[in-house]
Symmetry: C2
Subunit: 208 residues, 2 copies
């Protein structure tokens, strides 16, 4: 890797970690330059605009997410086991040392939801990709016969995200030591509900 690319990676890595603590809008060229012991203009030259830097930091986060969460989960067997692997790997991501403030996507999601622009657009795409992964892995679990056939997989993914968000809230803001345990309990309830015939299915079965 060339000298410039190395520096660029170092900048983005530091920016990403910092953004988890002070937000993506809170990033400043001056602060980054000082932290990395280089000049504002030297750092700035790598990106041409702060907005580009923000997008590139998010892009690095997306790449790391795949390496930390998605890919490792693929070693688990298809179906429920892989759903569990994704859930477990996500905690490793959220608590990884390079992200001292937690998941950057979660932070960005509530920071940028009302600020149109390329940064928000990229974030939405990344979040949609992650949702699609969850939906697909749930679908596979249905096909494998682990989850019930009439499971609403999109709803499953939606509820799973709620569990993750509630964990971030409880853990990061409320500093609740039971946050992880609560997430696990909620997850087990979600999986259990995905096993059992749905209430709707049961009601129509009773009617027969």
């Amino acid at each position: 890797m060339s000298k410039g690319a190395t520096t660029r990676q170092a900048i983005l890595s530091h920016a990403l970690g910092l953004a988890t603590k002070i937000g993506f809008e809170g990033l400043t060229i001056g602060r980054l330059a000082e932290d990395l012991g280089m000049s504002k203009s030297g750092l700035f030259a790598h990106f041409g605009s702060k907005e580009t830097l923000q997008v590139e930091a998010l892009r690095m986060a997306a790449e790391r997410f795949i390496d930390t969460v998605t890919k490792p989960a693929l070693v688990a067997p298809r179906g429920e086991r892989r759903v569990r692997a994704l859930f477990e790997r996500w905690f490793a991501w959220e608590q990884s040392p390079p992200l001292p403030g937690g998941c950057p996507f979660t932070a960005a999601a509530f920071e940028l939801d009302d600020r149109p622009g390329p940064v928000r657009d990229f974030l939405v795409q990344t979040e949609q990709d992650w949702t699609d992964v969850l939906i697909n892995v749930a679908r596979t679990a249905v096909h494998e016969g682990h989850f019930r056939a009439d499971l609403d997989c999109e709803q499953f993914a939606h509820n799973l995200r709620g569990i993750m968000l509630a964990y971030c809230h409880a853990s990061r803001l409320m500093k609740d030591p039971k946050a992880r345990a609560r997430a696990e309990i909620a997850f087990e309830a979600l999986v259990r509900a995905a096993h059992n015939p749905s209430a709707v299915a049961k009601a129509s079965a009773r009617r027969r």
Copy 2:
């Protein structure tokens, strides 16, 4: 109300609405002054520091939250009905016109979770109060016999928050038109699980 108090309320009201869109850290004295047609120094004199303004804006939000959500829900009968009322009122809060960017507590929660100080402290207290309301109303539903006796009410409140956070994410960031419907489905599943004997209880019952 004196002139000063009126202006102060107007400032805080505008600041609160603006904060839902650009965040509490994104608030600036200059922007607020311009929006309200007054001088920076005149506006500033009401608070003495930006930090105080942020806390006071959050305080106003907390008061409005009680008026919009908590109090109206008290007219519903104790128990499950009141749980449902709180859930329904919360959507009215999240979508109320004075909060164009959604729930300010949710936005602040992920913005300030890593920034110690009085603003964060006040937010944590407010969020804890809201959690306690949810826990207590679930407990009442247990006492009324609407929810099963061994329900973990704190877990119930935790999961309910997850449903709300997932709604904000889906609605505000992803602009998913099904966000509200997904929240309702998740809520009904949560309530249904609170009705039925728990899996743990069932397992021990089977063992008898």
